[in-house]
Symmetry: C2
Subunit: 169 residues, 2 copies
DNA sequence: ACTTAACGTATCGTGATCGACATGTCAATT
DNA sequence: AATTGACATGTCGATCACGATACGTTAAGT
């Protein structure tokens, strides 16, 4: 049930609409916890009903801007402080590696090269964000940068692994 | 829907029962795709109905040993060759990093130290497996070793990141 | 003989998630 | 004036997944 905390956390940074959340989940937070609109809008309504967020205004095109309430911030802090992070990770690209022996050697190598290519592109994208996007000063920006560095570190590790693996005979 | 391929893939290595799959999913493949018995047993029944696996024998304690069929192997190969790996990853520990700014500096550092500790323990466990467990010779063993190396590479990267982040002021 | 722990399969309710569909608004282009 | 594309919210059915419970078997220890 981390979706609600992902939404709360984003709204804690700055108020936003369901649509802006949806867009935001394409990058940044979406790399850690993907979500579609079919999940986001109902969850926002639940959060509002529970008093963790509040509708600040309604703008053009029936848009609804939400902001977190005191209770919402408290819930976020409780989550961070008192609950253990779930280590369960579903990683399909890794799963495939276990079964690469089912392919011909040439196909196996092609798979690893393609994987390297993907990770290289992702790394480029993350490094571009690190270079170009100016995160806000203060703790918010530092958290964002920390998360970015974590992503860069793992992406680089997988990239180097894939290149090594593709090259090995 | 990768669970079926995780099950198929394991059974392609060697025939097994639902229970042996369940145990296997505690380590190795489970790091890439966790599964509980509430998922495994029904999925095995579906796979059997679809002819992708076949019950080889039934042993003590009503156990049922399954093995993959030709169709099962074909489906695995099709999956590996013709479908794109899903890049969607749910990573709660990473999600939390985005929102660390909500905590006091001391709590933040404590979180990062604890994260480092976890990754250190995991790395130790993976390296122990690499040292001690003898994978089968041939392509199966090489795939397994590749997957292990991927896990070690990412774990080491996150560990170094966490230590750096916890040390930074 | 008794107890315990591991073995082994199965189901059920609840909630999470996906993908598709539906509906309407507004701004800019043609 | 008409079309297009981005903006914006919502719902629905079908799976997927989790956690708990149930039930029975076998081996080993006491």
């Amino acid at each position: 049930m981390s979706l609600r905390h992902a939404l709360l956390g984003y709204l804690a940074e700055e108020p936003g609409t369901g649509y802006s959340l949806l867009k935001h989940f394409d990058g940044s937070v979406g790399y850690a916890w993907p979500a579609r609109q079919g999940q986001i809008y109902p969850e926002l309504n639940r959060l509002r009903e529970e008093g963790l967020i509040r509708q600040r205004e309604s703008g053009a095109r029936n848009s609804k801007t939400y902001e977190v309430t005191e209770a919402g911030i408290a819930e976020l802090r409780r989550w961070l402080r008192e609950t253990e992070p779930s280590r369960a990770v579903r990683n399909e690209p890794l799963l495939r590696v276990f079964f690469l022996w089912l392919l011909e050697p040439a196909e196996r190598e092609a798979y690893l090269r393609k994987e390297a290519e993907y990770q290289r592109a992702l790394l480029g994208e993350l490094e571009r964000i690190e270079r170009e996007e100016q995160p806000p000063r203060g703790p918010k920006g530092r958290s964002y940068r920390l998360a970015l560095e974590r992503g860069i570190a793992t992406t680089r590790a997988v990239l180097e692994w894939a290149e090594r693996a593709a090259g090995a005979r």
